[in-house]
């Protein structure tokens, strides 16, 4: 009996050991499987944090910087100042230009096209860069900073030439393929002076262009030079004198604006609009450039600002 008991005990002990071993193996196998399943996820997560991922991130960071610094130039032709002799029914984009435009980002593309259409509507491919231009092409919502950046980008691409005229003012010349049937190049007079500053050179034709369009000022511009305000002895040519006069008018209008107050100035503006419409017709009102000319004249007369002739006499 005792032997049978011993045998039974030995068998159950062995069975217990076997079962324990089996359970241990099963548990180990599960743990291994779990570990294997978790391992790729961990490596994927850890990888970007360690070596390979930082590299693309760095590239992504550096790419825009590089783009800012070096913008691919897509046009090597010089932007020449042009005036449009006829107002064509259709605005044509040449194949070459279309090819260039295809390479632009959508913002640059949009800005170029807006400026292109604007050039055709104002019959010249140049003008001042500023808020007025931004608003004229319908980009009121764009910030001036963004606008300036895009203008510079187009400049870097070779589709636009920006010239700093003064500390605060700059001009642009849009690249427009020359078409002799409807365009005329603006002649740039070589300066006889010893100081041929490039920005001044570029602005000369524009000032002359504006003089042509202004009925009052140009007739008075024909006689010789003078001295600039507050700078006796320094010679000043006619264009510079006109420029000084423009600055003078601008300052006088600003002074008048402060003197009469904002609400009164708004009323004066309203009166000016009505007056221009009545006297020169609705077409003048809807032509931005002409409207500005007549508005300036209205202010000159409304605020008793000296005429160019009178002002010039005080300066000579």
């Amino acid at each position: 009996m005792g032997l049978i008991k011993e045998i039974t005990k030995a068998i159950t002990d062995k069975a217990k050991e076997e079962v324990l071993l089996y359970i241990k193996k099963a548990v180990d196998a599960d743990a291994k499987k779990k570990a294997e399943a978790a391992a790729p996820a961990i490596t994927e997560e850890s990888k970007p944090a360690e070596t390979p991922a930082p590299a693309p991130e760095k590239q992504a960071d550096t790419k825009p910087e590089e783009q800012d610094e070096t913008v691919l130039r897509i046009n090597d032709d010089k932007a020449v100042r042009l005036t449009f002799t006829t107002r064509a029914d259709s605005i044509v984009i040449s194949r070459d230009l279309a090819g260039m435009l295809q390479m632009l980002s959508y913002e640059e593309f949009a800005l170029y096209l807006k400026l292109y259409f604007f050039s055709f509507s104002q019959k010249k491919n140049y003008g001042y860069v500023g808020n007025s231009l931004r608003r004229s092409i319908g980009l009121d919502e764009m910030t001036p900073k963004q606008f300036g950046k895009l203008i510079n980008m187009l400049g870097d691409r070779g589709l636009l030439e920006v010239l700093q005229v003064s500390d605060t003012q700059s001009t642009f010349t849009l690249f427009v393929p020359f078409d002799e049937t409807c365009m005329k190049k603006v002649e740039e007079k070589p300066r006889p002076d010893k100081k041929p500053l490039p920005p001044k050179k570029e602005t000369k034709p524009q000032v002359q262009e504006e003089i042509k369009s202004e009925p009052k000022l140009p007739e008075r511009m024909e006689s010789g030079g003078g001295t600039p305000p507050g700078r006796a002895g320094m010679e000043m040519d006619e264009d510079q004198l006109v420029k000084s006069y423009r600055t003078f008018i601008s300052l006088e209008i600003d002074k008048a604006k402060m003197r009469v107050g904002r609400s009164n100035f708004d009323k004066i503006y309203m009166e000016a609009v009505k007056y221009i419409d009545k006297k020169y017709g609705f077409k003048v009102l809807s032509d931005s450039e002409k409207f500005k000319e007549y508005l300036t004249q209205y202010y000159i007369s409304a605020f008793d600002i000296p005429s160019y002739e009178q002002w010039r006499k005080t300066k000579v």
Partner: protein, 82 residues
């Protein structure tokens, strides 16, 4: 009858400008509307040629023009050439 129909079409062109003028907030948009007005006026003149423009249509044109002028005065001031 046909003339009345045409008159309605022309009136609608003018009325459309008047409605769009309500939402006009910039000089840029105003200029587009002003051009549309010019076109509408020319279209009407061309249509009637030597005949006098019906009073109703003329009144509508005058009204929209006045509204355009007033709106121009209300909009942000145009920068000067200086």
């Amino acid at each position: 009858m046909l003339l009345d129909m045409d008159q309605k079409v022309l009136m609608k062109t003018v009325a459309d400008i008047e409605i769009k003028l309500l939402t006009c907030k910039s000089n840029f948009f105003w200029e587009i509307l002003a051009k549309k007005y010019d076109e509408a006026e020319e279209k009407i003149k061309d249509f009637y040629k030597k005949k006098p423009i019906p009073q109703e249509l003329q009144d509508a044109l005058d009204k929209v023009r006045l509204q355009l002028v007033i709106k121009k005065g209300d909009l942000p001031h145009e920068d000067l050439l200086v």
